[in-house]
Symmetry: C2
Subunit: 337 residues, 2 copies
């Protein structure tokens, strides 16, 4: 297959970035639509994307199924798959899971740092695990084919989602906690459980998740990947750059503080460094995936492993994750064909 797929980006989208996606040969990218936006605000984001799809049909189109990754490759475009980093988009209404899936939402985080109606974020001191509504929503996400993403969730909640979900789940963008002890990075127990359950773990290039931050070296990053691959296999590993290109710092404020505080929450930043940190110099934007490939080769990965890490694992995961679970009606449709 040899697909190039990025497991998460939230850039300040523009023709420039769409052209960089093409220049970098990115076949598909999971883009964050929303953080704390409610349902109606989420729909407004979809409307914005629809205008971009209409305006640049030769560069991008909306992805709904795994086959759209192949279509992207065949037509020299990038398939855009939607996701939400917080369940604010479904408000308190489980029926919105299916509605948003129909509109193309293929990933939803159960939490973003804080407690949500569904589970607990990684910045809370107490972790409830899945709430009553959380268990119902995970089952509904399983039914319709929306991936449970626990990138910003607490440990207990993440393990609870891994256990409760009937379909494999993902951590789309994070790194191992024992490589860099950020709250957002994941324990080996979580990584092992993802490996064992058919889930996915996407390595992040967001500097706050990197050893030495923006100064992290490519070799250090790739050696870390090699260590995880040795320990747990390569079959569940991908990239989720968390690229937030060209975003003003007001956006990171929205990500961190939403409407839940009147103060400023610095999240992974600090009072002295409240904004977006600069990306490492070997991954500035979508044109630099080649550096990552080279780095992976240098630490000893073979061509098939690199293909798996750079996109084929995501492509396989998309294929098994995005469809509705078979129901009576679907069985009847198959019978009719």
């Amino acid at each position: 297959m040899n697909f190039l797929i990025d497991g998460l980006q939230y850039s300040n989208w523009s023709e420039t970035i769409f052209r960089q996606l093409r220049a970098g040969g990115v076949d598909a990218v999971h883009v964050t639509l929303v953080y704390h936006e409610n349902f109606r605000e989420t729909v407004a984001r979809i409307e914005q994307w629809n205008r971009w799809f209409e305006r640049w049909p030769d560069l991008i189109f909306q992805g709904f199924t795994a086959e759209d990754v192949q279509l992207a490759r065949a037509t020299g475009r990038t398939a855009i798959f939607f996701g939400a980093q917080n369940p604010s988009c479904i408000e308190d209404d489980i029926g919105l899971v299916e509605v948003l899936h129909r509109l193309g939402l293929r990933f939803m985080q159960l939490t973003y740092n804080n407690q949500s109606l569904l589970a607990t974020g990684c910045y809370e001191t107490e972790d409830t695990g899945l709430t009553r509504m959380g268990r119902e929503v995970v089952a509904e996400m399983n039914r319709v084919g929306m991936v449970v993403d626990m990138s910003h969730s607490g440990e207990k909640s993440t393990l609870a989602a891994l256990e409760h979900s009937a379909r494999p789940i993902a951590v789309t963008h994070a790194n191992p906690h024992d490589w860099h002890a950020a709250r957002r990075n994941k324990s080996d127990a979580v990584i092992a459980a993802l490996a064992q359950t058919g889930g996915m773990f996407g390595f992040s290039l967001y500097p706050h998740h990197l050893h030495k931050g923006s100064a992290c070296e490519l070799d250090d990053f790739c050696t870390m990947i090699a260590r995880i691959a040795e320990r747990h296999g390569t079959h569940f590993l991908g990239i989720g750059t968390d690229l937030c290109q060209d975003q003003p710092d007001s956006v990171v404020e929205w990500m961190r503080s939403g409407r839940w505080t009147k103060s400023v929450d610095f999240g992974e930043g600090s009072k002295d460094a409240p904004g977006f940190p600069p990306m490492p110099n070997w991954f500035r934007d979508n044109r630099d995936f080649g550096n990552l490939r080279a780095g992976l080769a240098k630490v000893g990965f073979g061509p098939d492993e690199i293909a798996a890490l750079m996109g084929d694992n995501w492509a396989r995961f998309f294929a098994s994750s995005f469809g509705m679970l078979p129901s009576n009606s679907q069985a009847m449709e198959r019978a009719a064909q």
Copy 2:
């Protein structure tokens, strides 16, 4: 083909009615989702339908394309196509046209009796024709594949929509004004324009649209159809029963008065008869389409004409109406196949 398709119903849906659809052999029905509901309320109606689709997958499923009519026939179920009788569902936001089309909305009336943001309803004294936003929304509906339905619009607005729309439009449920002079019934000029432009005209069985109302006789109704067919051809004719089965009278109040008046508007009713009128005794519910077939045969229609009138014309119209107009991206998709 010999499909049985109803061009409009707004019943108080239940397992009983879904089983009557099957007993009557109805392959597809355009159902009204909403009247004056805003976008979020419209989504709540879709959520309700999703629960019905999940609960009765052996009886009904949501139709998105004309092929779903064939699937319905092949699997012994009824395909449900969504429509709105007023543009309240898109609020003042043209981007909601594509969003609602993605959610399956395949018909939208530009007005419901009153002036809307888009055009003028048949109960206003002054008819603006299409407004500025109306022209934009018709073009967007044309682009995405949502049928312009002028059943409740004024004459000038209807003729303006016929002229402005790049794709054929429909009057899904009405009768000729020169047969029964209800405000909702259509002039021969409108019917002629529909015939000439590839549009559709669905004959209504709602008693207020019938000569002699609930006492209208089958032969009178079918003779009227024969007269229209002689004058304009059968190619653009179908049925749109406007069946409002099992609805409480509170629903007809909502249809007529919405939130636009604090008084009661009796619409087609009157102070003495404010509720839903009884249906004619030869069409009580979905099991009675056979009576209509027999009535059409009795006034001289042949088997092919009856098939066209009872559903095949709608099926052909669905096939040419529900898809997005070809764009660059779709051309590229075709090239890739």
